[in-house]
Subunit: 520 residues, 2 copies
């Protein structure tokens, strides 16, 4: 299997693949492409991004032969998790996927000017990262910004275009009085003007209902051109987004994201097998080979319980987010902040405060990092009085240091942020304030023990300066796998019976004995 | 709260409620009604029908005020479960619901000529059952037959009409080369001719995909009249049926079945809250008050884990049923039959044999009891040679004793069934062979200790002659609740740690000691 064997090596080809004319000629029969997220977002959403490469490798051949448009397998939180928890070089992971997925596009999630880190990077660092990712095997770059500020996407998109790879411009879907279909379509138009190869509607909180999914997809196709690929990414949390994918497809969506069923649903994604089956008889069809998906499903069904220590508790649906706008992760953060202060009873007040703070900040979508910033400020407002204390991050958000929001900010709160932070409000692109930093980063990185002298290592240091030193030092010990055999649990059909031996040190009358209790 | 307070006491009213003309005038805005199945099918599908009445009573006021078209709360397996496991009089349960749900229609599932038992009953018994159910508080009777033989529905439907209650004629949805949309629509037409108040599309195995859901609903509306209410019941097992509900609604469906989310998904139903949210902005809307549903959700979220001993293991999706046609319950039955014979390795052959046996039998839908009959014969064919041994039930199925199937049966196998059973093939309605039996049943029932002399007790004995004697004897002890506090489980975030004390008898060096291990 060589790279030349890849089914569709030219990322531009897909742009005309589903041309409107061709669809009409085929009389309503249209191929819907699928991106499977099992190798990235599925385990990020369901098992805290902890899956080790060795648990993914055995499924790669099946996944590669399943006929997916792409396999999302890198970026998001995986880079952080690799070096922080798994002692695994993320670049080596990327090269492994490239090698094992010769027929399928690789895909990553990139936070625009933040890359995979948590601050804005100067343009030359962004350029270097994209160049290296492309060189190590990345095909499709899904680029987004938490505030939907197109200026925070522009450098990354240009850099992807320069490599000849597929640049996907992303709209983070959210709802508010100012977030209308028209506004999102305008953003898509700006992204198309930047030269993106496709548009992604990214619904990270499962807020995208069927009707807006239809209207938004249709709006983008009408205003940006029927040939502009629309790629829809939904989570499953609220239980409505399988329907949203159907309506987006009816409106013309070209590609949808799903995940192999054994790692799907809950805060994860809609199941791949169900999406394929759902389309039967509709005139839409996929090229996915379910026999291959079943093999991957059986593999991950065995892997999943071994990560029990990291698995999400949620398996059903959660619909109150439509009202509260607060993602589950943010809820538990706020709860623990309150409890630490002995004010666990104030949760309801905080929940009511969040939308007010969000409005003051110009209605940012609530995703990392804006969700944490808004949530923490709401907690502070309830505990200490309205805007009595402003966090540094909230002041930065109010003053434009994360980018611009769709709605104007509350001028009174902007004034407080100026006073509290002693900073000025900015209207320029945040990264414009940064001085060239590659050489500094490179010099610092190369001083670290275990640094291998590559630009890739400089990028690891640049994005994770706190974590990189330990990782470089311990890298030679090789990847860790945090999965463990399931701890014994009580068999729920036979209360009192364990499903595996359990060992105790039992001290009886002062004598310690090793006792093994096992099912008989 | 009196019966007079019920929102819509006349079951006929709903028939014109959504008239086609009215919809057109309202310009696409249409109310979609919801039947919530939390009190019957939800716990039948997810916790083996074991929920005790005392765990349902606290939620009734919220459910009654949520604005549902009806609450399915009786019939199916609940009658059996009440007397077999819960020592609860099913008629008392019905009266309790009637009292606690004054504003909402009560609804039950009735197996046509089988009532809630496992054989055909003579018409006067069917009539008596329906009369008593209506008198004790039942509003809507969903009447079905496992073979879709309309003759097996006719007596029950006439009996319901006689009481003035709502008679719903049901189509069991299945797929096969002979099951076309036209054939199902023909069945709907026959049911309408019988005078039903509505048509139910019952998708017990989650096989109804979006396109057939649309075509079937549209076909029924076109051929039977736009005013004929179409009520769609889907399970969630395959992960596609939320979309099927949407497409059925677009095609004109009036009422859909869902379940409060804390007892939904897996082999259960689509979540009520998600269905309500899904419709936002589509022009379709429900009258459901989500605040009431949230209260019921929180209640059942607490109840659910207490039934851990009965909970279904399945929480994700299962899509291979589209190919195999074999429901999950049937699969595990066949597996255990094979294993008991030491032939567990023959499962694959059996899976391939099932569709052939089903074809020989004229493609019956695979539901109780046809699924067990076909599955067991397939196991016999693989273990002992093709039709070397015929079960009595399979012979009866082949010879028409369960009713007629949509496709002709394999004449060679019919001949074998005749020879094996020494019975003749029948083409008449199976219940026509039965002699009046009420007086005999009544006389037998009244001999039993604890019989209370009512017709209701005769019916209990008629349907469950093996179980009724013990139930009558023990009834005065009152209902049992089989729920228990959750057994201790290992906290998955802290492997090795239990979430509750666990007691062991540990024998060390021959001395037995009671040891309690508890979290510290």
């Amino acid at each position: 299997m060589t790279r030349k064997a890849r089914r569709n090596p030219d990322p531009q080809m897909c742009k005309t693949f589903h041309s409107y004319r061709e669809q009409k000629e085929r009389k309503l029969s249209r191929t819907i492409e699928i991106t499977d997220v099992i190798l990235r977002d599925a385990h990020q959403s369901l098992m805290a991004t902890r899956m080790a490469i060795e648990d993914m490798v055995p499924a790669c051949e099946w996944l590669d032969n399943a006929g997916f448009w792409s396999l999302e397998c890198w970026g998001g939180a995986t880079y952080d998790s690799c070096i922080r928890f798994l002692n695994e070089d993320p670049w080596e992971r990327l090269r492994t996927f490239r090698e094992l997925l010769p027929k399928t596009r690789t895909q990553m999630l990139l936070r625009g000017q933040n890359l995979l880190g948590y601050r804005h990077y100067e343009d030359s660092v962004v350029g270097r990262f994209v160049e290296k990712a492309a060189k190590n095997g990345m095909d499709v770059f899904r680029v987004f910004d938490a505030l939907n500020d197109p200026r925070n996407l522009e450098t990354a998109i240009k850099a992807v275009k320069k490599t000849g790879k597929h640049a996907q411009g992303t709209i983070c879907y959210t709802t508010s009085p100012v977030h209308t279909v028209d506004k999102f379509v305008e953003m898509a138009q700006r992204l198309v003007e930047m030269g993106v190869d496709s548009i992604c509607i990214k619904d990270m909180a499962a807020l995208l209902k069927p009707q807006p999914a239809y209207d938004l997809t249709k709006g983008i196709k009408e205003k940006c051109g029927q040939d502009v690929l629309v790629h829809v990414h939904c989570h499953a949390t609220t239980g409505v987004t399988m329907v949203s994918l159907m309506k987006a497809i009816e409106a013309g969506a070209d590609i949808v994201d799903t995940s192999v069923s054994s790692l799907s649903l809950g805060p994860g994604h809609n199941p791949t097998e169900s999406l394929v089956e759902m389309l039967e008889g509709t005139g839409y069809e996929t090229k996915v080979d379910l026999e291959m998906v079943y093999k991957a499903r059986d593999h991950f069904a065995k892997v999943r319980p071994r990560y029990h220590a990291f698995l999400s508790d949620i398996t059903g649906v959660e619909t109150e987010i439509f009202k509260s706008q607060i993602p589950g992760g943010m809820l538990s953060n706020m709860e623990s902040q309150l409890k630490q202060q002995g004010q666990g009873d104030k949760m309801k007040e905080v929940l009511e405060e969040v939308p007010r703070v969000r409005e003051d900040a110009g209605f940012p979508p609530l995703v990392t990092p804006s969700s944490q910033i808004v949530g923490t400020q709401a907690v502070f407002n309830v505990m200490m009085g309205k805007y009595k204390v402003l966090t540094g991050e909230f002041s930065d958000l109010m003053l434009g240091y994360y980018g611009e929001t769709i709605a104007p900010k509350n001028p009174d709160v902007v004034a407080m942020a100026k006073e509290s932070s002693k900073k000025e409000e900015i209207t320029s692109r945040p990264a414009d304030l940064l001085k060239p930093e590659w050489e500094t980063l490179e010099a610092e990185a190369k001083k670290l023990e275990g640094n291998n002298g590559t630009d890739e290592d400089v990028l690891t240091y640049a994005m994770f300066p706190q974590v990189a030193p330990k990782f470089f030092k311990e890298r030679s010990e090789g990847p860790r796998n945090l999965a463990t055999e399931p701890t014994p649990v009580i068999d729920k059909n036979h209360p009192g019976v364990l499903n595996a031996p359990i060992h105790y040190d039992v001290t009886v009358n002062g004598r310690k004995q090793r006792v093994t209790v096992e099912p008989v």
